[in-house]
Symmetry: C3
Subunit: 212 residues, 3 copies
């Protein structure tokens, strides 16, 4: 497979995984088809859309590729079947892998687009994390929850930060784009998978000697 | 009356209805005048503002027509009187009609602006729905609620989708703009009024054979 | 000190105060370092970023001055120490002063940027208030609370409105920029400090003769 095919496959898998996380939260709250589609849409495209608004890029990803809207719409309509399939433990693990791949792909593509737009390195790493994480943040806000990535204490955004930094360092060293991109994605996704497999935890940030 | 006068009258009525929905929610939560104005403003202009950010259109609707800001400000200041009037059942029904008209007007104007900007059909229908619905979504997020349109199970966004699709199909058939626009608004608003009058319901989306 | 140095000092103090308000809320909810940094970032830069999106200004403040991102990152990392220091009553009062100064600086700089962009007066006053207040609104939304400025009944946004109006009136009278800017900041910040010191309250907006 060519690198383009691989990246496209990751992109589709990641969109499916992100949309599915929205469908799960929306159906859990007894939403109707409109709510399920809206939350799935926000989960899948919220991060990239916020990045494009901040960087003033147009057209937006889902405007340029409306077939992804159809994909999310079809998933929302097929949600009852999809969720039944999700009960199998193996599907659950496949989704975890797709989500980790999506984290890597979105973080590095966001950092790369930001770098191309001439942003400073720190801003590019941030833009990568925003791309990868803000869809989930928006999903949780729409479901009236504190964003899970802020307080579930499992490394997620941190992996995007580290992978994005690795990508930018490699790029600054003159490494070929395919290598720096690939390494960034592998580091981000690999760290995430390791974090889940090993049960790594980030502590709640102490409030200053109050003993809690 | 000329079509322009009719559209302007609908626009004013819709802005009043949308702002009032924000005033109702804000006063219910014991907010002060700042909160009441802010939530009314977000309810009335949130959808159109999000559409303009996504399409990269400027100036924004309320920047170009600051008299609408004065209108919402006056409504927030007069809220105690307005809400007393709302207790009459007849006013309540007038507001329901104004809200349905606003749904139709905002959905079709959003779809039309998006179409003029060269967006694909599906994106234009979406932009119409975003214009019509996201003010209410923002209102509910600011009031710390799950957006009502996602889970009250009464058709609202669906009417905007159907009316927007009708508008785009007529336009693609070469129908005169006044006819396609008018039909789109009538279909959207009419479906909404029918849904409320007949008590139509959209089911909660099942979670896959769990019997709930 | 030159006016530039004074404005820079206020800007740093305000960013520190706004970021600290986010750190306080985030640690109170047992977030990890990612959540603490994200909420602090949103509190410090949310208002200015929203203003720049609405006015279509680029580069964003924190893109142009990434050293402010480092500042907020350092504060999030040092949060346990900072929060211990905050327990001293004097630090608390210093922070109140920095927050009031930030309110004044952000409100007037927002109104001024909007005026320069050719916005009508009412829109410029609104943009000032949005700049000063929407960071805190975003902080509270991310922490799953109704925004405090909407219902804590202590004048805050109102001070920004009044100060912004004073600034615009002086500017329209042909007063020198340094004087109109300075007066606007002093009025905004002074009103806020007075409101806190004197315990001024804005009433909950009545819901129309229901006796509550």
């Amino acid at each position: 497979m060519s690198p383009e095919t691989i990246l496209l496959a990751i992109e589709v898998a990641a969109t499916v995984a992100f949309a599915l996380s929205g469908i799960l939260e929306a159906t859990r709250r007894r939403m109707d088809i409109v709510g399920v589609f809206s939350v799935a849409f926000a989960s899948a495209f919220g991060g990239g859309t916020l990045r494009d608004l901040l960087l003033d890029r147009r057209p937006l990803f889902w405007v340029q590729n409306p077939e992804y809207i159809w994909l999310v719409l079809a998933m929302a309509l097929a949600a009852p079947l999809l969720l039944r399939a999700m009960r199998h433990r193996r599907v659950d693990r496949v989704m975890e892998g797709a989500d980790a791949l999506g984290l890597g792909l979105f973080a590095i593509s966001g950092a790369s687009l930001s770098m191309v737009a001439g942003m400073p390195a720190l801003v590019s790493v941030l833009m990568g994390a925003i791309t990868a994480v803000c869809g989930g943040v928006l999903r949780d806000v729409l479901c009236n929850e504190i964003p899970r990535v802020f307080h579930d204490h499992v490394p997620y955004t941190l992996c995007a930060f580290i992978g994005g930094a690795v990508f930018l360092v490699l790029h600054a060293q003159g490494v070929a784009p395919m290598v720096s991109t690939g390494t960034g994605i592998v580091v981000t996704s690999g760290l995430r998978l390791l974090a889940v497999a090993r049960g790594w935890r980030i502590p709640a940030w102490p409030r200053g000697g109050d003993g809690r």
